[in-house]
Symmetry: C2
Subunit: 351 residues, 2 copies
């Protein structure tokens, strides 16, 4: 069966200049894939391809547009029309490098959440020391999460990783803090119990608690956390990686001698850079919706945007949506439904 | 005036083997400092110095001892006796590389918290891209913090940084998440208002919200956050730094050719390593107590432990305790006092 992606070609910091190049590469590499190129036709005319079709959209959601503007004002935005293609069944997944808040709000509004899911989550892989990737969610769509939300993230994350890697039982770690005075907040303690029950019921492969360093160690395949915590962990890592990279560059370009050493070390530094290259892991999944939506980093270049297309394509081909639904149905007895407030705690313990 | 530190010489992964070497170095470098070496006399006899005196303690809090054990069973532990020296006024600060939970609980039990402070916090500097350090608190002593706690952390962090750097108005950032769907949790929104008020009242220099990447960018001198979030950010950074270091080592030792390049690049790699050496930043302050206590990393080597001694010494010499008290008194109208603590610490049960 052909898989079609709807691409918001106007989104991101660079728009068609980057997205079209990535789309062409993607089409070349996937002879069965089809693309719907969504945006201003005159700006997309550069990509003529038998398996690509332009879908016109007259507006663009700007990177700094408020969610309200994307939802209520720009009703013909490329972002919205791309998601609309998924809703209509004309595409199996949408990809956008636009404003995360607007993308999540539009996706939620147009596609609605799946039964049993209160809040969609953002999941992204991060490289780990084992040479693989650790998928972390939520990365910022939800704050003040309850234990029920964390369970939903665990179930959805398992579906995502099994669709993308083929591993039917990826392990799930619950992000917690370690030896310090108090181990975990109230919500985390309750979430631990809930995830353990889900593990015992065969709904997921619960590893147990993990700490921040385990993300990059690769201790568990999936790390589940509140979106506030996940977002801080992600951005802190970006900040540290950028500082370390900057220091390394500075030291190697300090004087003619160190520059010479840099030339000698060039192949090594290149290999090193490749291993920690964030671009390879571009493409976050918006999970919990009745349709697949993937978010590329706004500043993605051609290479990075193509990775986001690849991830969306793999997820769609491997029926991520069905997998999420099946796993949620299976975990049903533990999911208390879309009312989950911090209150109905006892209800959650119904085995 | 002479400044005396009480050193828990038995704590940490290595005990006297590391702490005594660091103590001797410290005494050599600070001709006016005095040390109380706390621990088993026969193990401390190796360090004979006119400005060092042994204070006997028959027990040791193990790294994996429960808080309860440290508080109720081992009443003659080196950790406890070291803090006791501060309480008695025989030392101006205590330093230990032992178990964080036990140290915080003992310090809180023996010294009590300052008026206006509900919860002591753990503050530590992290290197930043500007070549300085960003002080982050809380790093794990408190979870489920309220906006009042975050304000207290901001006030205490300001006192710490001004005592250690001489900058009377260090800037304070509130750790938040950025452009994503929902900006900040309920507590963070309220904390933002409170910190703004404190800034307007001249109690602190409030920079505004910062994100995870700002910690290593050095956007603000101090970053304030819930202990759960801070602990995750810290450990995630440790994990990433360790992964990057591992990759770099692997690439440079891949084959004879890369090993040759490593020799050429050795001075550069050494300079680089020095810049990101976390040991230079060893020595976390336990803030909010009626006495100064500093925590060294458990795995600290001689160099790292000496840094913790240096930080404790600088803090004591620069009257950190008076500064914290003065700042709290000044911010009094905004601090609602030691009520509304949703979750008393273990230590609180003792009293």
């Amino acid at each position: 069966m052909t898989t079609t992606l709807a691409v918001d070609c106007m989104g991101g910091d660079h728009g068609p200049r980057v997205t079209l190049v990535a789309c062409r590469q993607f089409l070349d590499r996937h002879p069965e894939a089809r693309l719907l190129l969504v945006g201003a036709p005159e700006q997309l005319a550069g990509l003529q391809h038998p398996r690509a079709r332009i879908v016109a959209a007259t507006e663009v959601v700007a990177m700094d547009d408020a969610v309200e503007v994307a939802l209520r004002k720009k009703k013909d935005s490329s972002m919205r029309i791309a998601i609309q293609q998924v809703k209509q069944g004309d595409a199996q997944a949408a990809v956008s490098a636009g404003n995360t808040g607007a993308l999540m709000a539009l996706a939620r509004y147009l596609l609605k959440t799946l039964d049993g899911i209160d809040r969609p989550a953002i999941a992204s892989p991060l490289p780990n020391a084992k040479g693989g990737a650790t998928t972390v969610l939520d990365l910022g769509a939800n704050v003040d999460c309850t234990e029920q939300h964390l369970l939903q993230f665990a179930v959805m994350g398992s579906a995502l990783v099994s669709a993308l890697t083929g591993n039917p039982t990826p392990s799930v770690g619950l992000l917690n803090i370690g030896e310090e005075v108090i181990k975990g907040s109230e919500v985390i303690k309750k979430a631990g119990e809930l995830l353990r029950s889900a593990g015992n019921a065969g709904d997921l492969n619960f590893f147990g608690n993990v700490e921040g360093n385990d993300i990059f160690k690769g201790t568990a395949d999936i790390v589940v956390c509140d979106g506030f915590v996940g977002n801080v962990a992600l951005k802190t890592s970006e900040g540290l990686a950028s500082m370390i990279g900057g220091f390394l560059r500075e030291e190697f370009s300090r004087n003619p001698l160190t520059k010479l050493a840099a030339i000698v070390a060039y192949p090594i530094l290149t290999a090193f850079k490749k291993r920690v290259d964030y671009r390879r892991y571009n493409g976050a999944a918006l999970l919990g919706l009745r349709g697949l939506v993937f978010k590329s980093h706004g500043s993605a270049d051609e290479f990075a945007f193509e990775q986001a297309l690849n991830r969306a394509y793999d997820a769609a081909r491997n029926n991520l949506l069905d997998r999420v639904e099946a796993r949620i149905a299976h975990a049903r007895p533990l999911l208390v439904g879309p009312t989950a407030d911090p209150q109905p705690l006892e209800a959650a313990h119904i085995e």
